[in-house]
Symmetry: none
Subunit: 398 residues, 2 copies
């Protein structure tokens, strides 16, 4: 950043805890997927948990649904949904129905769950609102496929789209038929719903349609327990991250005050992490706030969030048995304050704990870590490195 | 080199422009293919343009033919050819027919193009001489295969070889039959050609046979335009490099005075590059001369060439908008002055431009760059890294 004298927010932040572990540990840089490849949070987190996203990633919908507490089984097809406002000819006026309040969305979702589809379609569905206009839809039944298009036109001013099969399979045709039938039934329920009548009275956009996108299935992966013989847990607030962790077989620890925003309760997450370490071999503590600050282009906020994370880390370091615990700090991807988007640059990493090969790096930053003893690794390498350090690795060969 | 006090020619050369971008940019080392693997110019250039040569490389013949201006279509089989001198029992006396002049070779090629094969073979062919004794042959027709052996015995004193199928397919058998028939027809035309009669009078070796080798097909790859959404161009003199660039969908810019030798017009290439940057998103400027100097084992020449490249680079740096342009300098492979051959050592790289993570390296060299912020990457990583820096990358995941 020019305004930081050419430094990054991480370089500019005051971060005694991060620097102390950089000094004690081994540093490096990580390409979450591969050099120059811009990751999503889902693909990057899969990689950093030891799963090759190029092989197992199957769309965001199913992961987000799983993370929001909706059960997604192998074979189910899941969608990310929005409550939206449409006019009588189904042209989208507001893709977020005025960012409808959770309370209104909950009431509408409750009604939608009562919709019954023709028996001949032979499917069940789950529908759950999450935050504001956001919701998850899971279709359950035989012979379904995620190869179907979105009903969400992605921009206001366009008519909603008919969901179409994306390949010639009978499963894709069947799934498209089911989703279109469901969207039609949803429309009937929402059109004259009492919640919408009240919203109209209050001058608020009616949530009179559901848009769906990102059809996906659950990745078929071995749990971390099976892969590495560990009992893992996750402290995260964001549905997408929780979904990845759930699919990886991790216990999801819900923390009061953890919001996935810069106002999250960092210390509550730190405490939950320290507690979880008493009952689990491996705990992933995820903070979304740095990403949010960058998406908003807010340099000051990003530095502030990093400094809060540093204090959170300080709390944890003071309370874990550093002679028996390995600690890794990294990011699932870079989010640029300039482009306000994810970027394909490598992220810094530090690992501390017994018998790491301590290097000469004394500051945790993008450029200082590039000079560290881990050199440049891939996201997919991180778990095997940690499992090796903690003695959980199995030998390949004799 | 012992005579350079243990330094490499790059380390010993005076190179203010290279050093200035090393200071401004981020440095590293690249394994063109993989650590320790000795690349060809074709496989390395494919990799550095973002194509995995282990997956797409299908022989030099087709690439060189494409680069020399012969059209090669998917399904065609192309060969690298030499005009050669053979005796009456077809023993090769000179594989290069005394490095026959372009003028003589052109006249012979013109006659060879008139050869007509049996209709029943159902093929067409293109034959074009390039530089001196070198030529390209492309066979076009249904059911062809590149799984055929060479007619070139590789050394003088041996009889020319019959082209044989290298697998049991009917396509390979058919292709061998076609090439053998063509070589026989070529021999008939060349044996008593007026050009050869005149060469004999002047005491020059007759170009009385064509040798072919390196059967290949065109790699089936997406263009750079399709892969990255860029409009790419290439400034190169060497047919093989031009062929790779053509297959990658790049506009080939021919520069007067660009020869692919140490006597090439460096400044003409620099000017063409600066011009091309006004109409293209991406320009590859390739200089062959360092490779030539090493193949010849000429230390002084190599240093001289590096210093000329440095001045060429200086010209370019002074004329591009460094706030809006990313510049990468690297090599497609190492060529050793000791072995006079390509080697599998990594090559240095530097990238400058907006928002690169500037490191502490201040000199462009094999060993200094190894301490840079890019660490050690693969040839295949270079384009994704550049596309990420220039905002052309697409996100993988959500």
């Amino acid at each position: 950043m020019k305004e930081l004298g050419g430094r990054t927010p991480l370089e500019a932040a005051t971060k005694p805890a991060l620097n102390s572990i950089a000094k004690d540990g081994i540093c490096g840089i990580i390409d979450p997927i591969a050099p120059g490849i811009t990751p999503g949070s889902d693909t990057a987190t899969l990689a950093m948990l030891g799963y090759d996203p190029l092989k197992v990633y199957s769309g965001r919908g199913a992961l987000e649904a799983a993370g929001s507490g909706v059960e997604v089984l192998p074979g189910d097809v899941a969608f990310r949904c929005n409550f939206a406002t449409v006019d009588t000819s189904l042209v989208v006026l507001d893709r977020r129905a005025g960012r409808i309040a959770n309370e209104d969305a909950s009431k509408l979702a409750e009604s939608l769950r009562k919709v019954s589809l023709q028996k001949s379609l032979n499917v069940k569905f789950l529908f759950k609102n999450t935050v504001q206009h956001r919701a998850a839809l899971v279709i359950h039944g035989p012979n379904l496929s995620s190869a179907v298009s979105d009903s969400d036109p992605e921009v206001a001013g366009k008519r909603i789209l008919k969901v179409k099969p994306l390949d010639a399979s009978s499963e894709a045709r069947r799934t498209a038929r089911v989703v279109n039938a469901l969207m039609e039934e949803f429309r009937k329920v929402l059109k004259d719903h009492v919640v919408n009548k009240e919203r109209a009275k209050r001058g608020l956009p009616e949530a009179n349609m559901v848009l769906c996108r990102g059809a996906g299935t659950i990745p078929k992966i071995d749990t971390l327990q099976k892969k590495f013989g560990i009992k893992p847990a996750c402290v995260a607030a964001v549905s997408l991250i929780k979904g990845v962790c759930k699919v990886a077989g991790m216990d999801l620890i819900n923390v009061k005050g953890a919001t996935g925003t810069p106002e999250t309760d960092y210390m509550a997450k730190a405490k939950a992490t320290v507690r979880a370490l008493k009952t689990h071999d491996f705990v992933l503590l995820h903070v979304k706030a740095t990403d949010v600050a960058s998406h908003d282009g807010d340099v000051r906020l990003k530095i502030e969030v990093i400094e809060k994370i540093d204090r959170m880390l300080g709390y944890i370091i003071d309370r874990i048995d550093t002679d028996a615990t390995h600690l890794a700090v990294t990011a699932d991807h870079t989010t640029s304050l300039i482009t306000r988007n994810h970027e394909g640059d490598p992220v810094p990493v530090v690992i501390t704990g017994p018998y790491v090969r301590r290097d000469q790096v004394v500051e945790f930053g993008e450029r200082t870590c590039a000079e560290g003893g881990l050199n440049r690794i891939r996201g997919l390498n991180l778990m095997p490195i940690l499992m090796n350090l903690t003695g959980k690795a199995k030998k390949f060969g004799a």
